[in-house]
């Protein structure tokens, strides 16, 4: 399987340790090949999305986005993505956060294109189940 057909998994989280653990978790996933793109903030991720076409692959790309980040919060990123209908149609988006606050749960309802909310900490199996669900 060549590079083009690897499923693209994008993680946006300012916590370096989480990014490392997340990478290890993905290495243990054996169902299909994955290409992992970790970003420490949303601006860097947007720069990447501007310059790379992630929609060409056969599998839809999948985005994991933290809420509380410097420069641009996860919600602010959602505000930007909301207008890119092509992108959100071809992409699965998950929020990953340690926040259990009411206001963050209410925010979730404002973005119907979000596929799910993953509460930190989460286990390897929980992540694999999400990756196994095919559209």
């Amino acid at each position: 399987m060549n590079q083009e057909n690897k499923r693209k998994v994008i993680l946006i989280d300012d916590n370096a340790i989480l990014r490392t653990i997340f990478g290890y978790m993905l290495q243990g996933f054996a169902d299909y090949p994955i290409e992992f793109f970790p970003f420490k903030n949303a601006l860097d991720a947007l720069d990447f999305l501007e310059s790379h076409d992630i929609s060409t692959s056969s599998e839809p790309a999948i985005l994991f986005v933290d809420i509380s980040m410097p420069f641009m919060t996860g919600w602010e990123l959602m505000d930007i993505l909301e207008d890119r209908t092509d992108f959100i149609e071809q992409t699965q988006i998950f929020i990953i956060s340690s926040s259990t606050s009411q206001s963050d749960q209410e925010q979730l309802a404002n973005y119907p294109f979000i596929s799910g909310f993953i509460l930190k900490p989460f286990g390897k199996e929980q992540l694999y189940e999400i990756l196994r669900v095919r559209i």
Partner: protein, 625 residues
Amino acid sequence: MHLQRDSLSTPSAQTECSGLEGLITILEDGSILHLNARACELLGLGKTETKGKKLHELITFYSSDDTSAPVAELTPFQIRPDDNRIHEEKILGIAIEDKFKWFVFHINPFREEDKTGLQLSFFDVSKLVNQNQSLKDKQHQLQLLVASLNDLVFEVTDTGVFKNYWTNDTKQLFYPPEEFLNKSLTELFPADLAIPTIQLIQNSLKLDREFKMEFQSPSEQHKGKWYSLQIKPIHRTQNRVALVISDITKQIESTEKIRFNEHKFNQAFHFSGLGIALTDLDGYCIESNQTLTKILGYSQEEMSTTRFSTNTHPDDVEREIELRKKLIRGEIESFTIQKRYRHKLGHYVWCSVTIAAVFDNADMPLFLIVQVQDISESKKNIEILKRQKLESDLVKMDLETKVRQLEEFAHILAHNLKGPLSNMPMLIDELQVTKDEEVKTEFLNLLKISTGQLTETLQELGDILELRSNKSLVFENCDFLQVYHKVKQQYIEEIQQKNATISVEFNVANIHYPKIYLESILSNLISNSLRFTAKDKAPYIEIRTTLEEDGTLLTVRDNGLGINLPKYKSQLFMFKKVFHRGFESKGVGLFLTRYQVESLGGKIDVQSEPNEGSVFSVKFLERKQ
């Protein structure tokens, strides 16, 4: 004068010449038979022209009643068929050159031989008749005069018997004339009116003086009416008086009204809850009431010798004098001021004072009415309320700040603590299952880092929480310049490295504040300005203090990167927020600074635009020393 009736037909020469009476004999148809010289003289006739003529055709006679000329045939100077007159006396006049001459005619019928006729003897009574006439005229005029008066006039005897009356309207009389004339006051009126009246009549006659009394109508018909009774002696008759009765109901009513108004004013003046004084135009007290005495402590007598300015606080005198002048000039109708009076005991009393001017009919100011209300109590209450409001405002501000801080702590808990914490179980899970030694080592290392991060965050939170219990803070006199120099030492290296310039202008040199806070605040702001510098220009930082209305303002201006305020302002002073990519920043500084400022009631604010630099301003709420 004696008249010889039997010799009338042939009057003797004697009577013909010397008698004062005019004598004429006429036949029954009125033709003149004979007349003497006196008759000719009186009637202005020549003797010859009268022969055989009829008297009533020769002269026009006028009646004395109305000076009209009767029809010639109806004059008494002929005998009509049914005439059976024996003797008649009649006054008739003739006109000579526009004047009347009046004669009294004695007319006697006679029968002599075959002739019947009338014997007329007459003499001149013009003087009497004219006098009578003028009396009649006078009487008429008098009646007209009486009729024009609204008064009732009675002629009354000394015993109170009505003899005569004059009025223009008989309806005004208490009784029809025939019922009261020749009756006594005592028969007609109740004793309480009649007896005093008779008393006055007798006094009036005795002392030859005029008396007056007023009484209310004794009859049902004129109920409620008031009359004035004047008693004047009529001298000529000695025991007669004139009673003049006038209806004075209207005057009485208006007098009553005035008296009532005066009474009302007096009641209002003396029993008012307000202190009231009347002052002359120069401000000297004319009269004052009891309430004013209560307010100011001076008795009414003491007050009456003082001028308002004597007992007014010196700062309030000028204003009141100006307003009083305007009032007297009629420029304003009244004015109300709040002023301080000096109480007799020496202390000042706050009063609300309303002053109005009273003018006479010619618009000349007469005096001023001053109304004084003691408002010292409410002044005091207002002061207390103001202070309480200030206190509760401070408490409210404090509470609002605390509520916001609590919300922020909840946020910190959700993101900054739970984040690093959530890594740890994930790392442990992986450690438990992995067989790879390399991974194990790395994950143990990550676990150590996570623990370190968590400890650090907890430490920072601990510092911040400590700010909240600031009881141990020592307030001292801080010299801005001194604090600045101390802080600057920490950044000497960066200043040199970035070739930064810092200028200071401390218009306020000192502040009463916890020194460690001031150092921390200044340090954080300078640190921010030195860190987020623009690449293409040498950093320039301007630090100054200025005195504002409600405290000292510290501003730190730089020419650095600036901040996109519309986007970040809400987060700028939040915990662990960073806004500049590529700089070493933990995002704790401004949060800490804000906490330090706010914990002592101050405010921190920022003005900035990206690439234009930032101005941070700190408003200190200084505690009273």
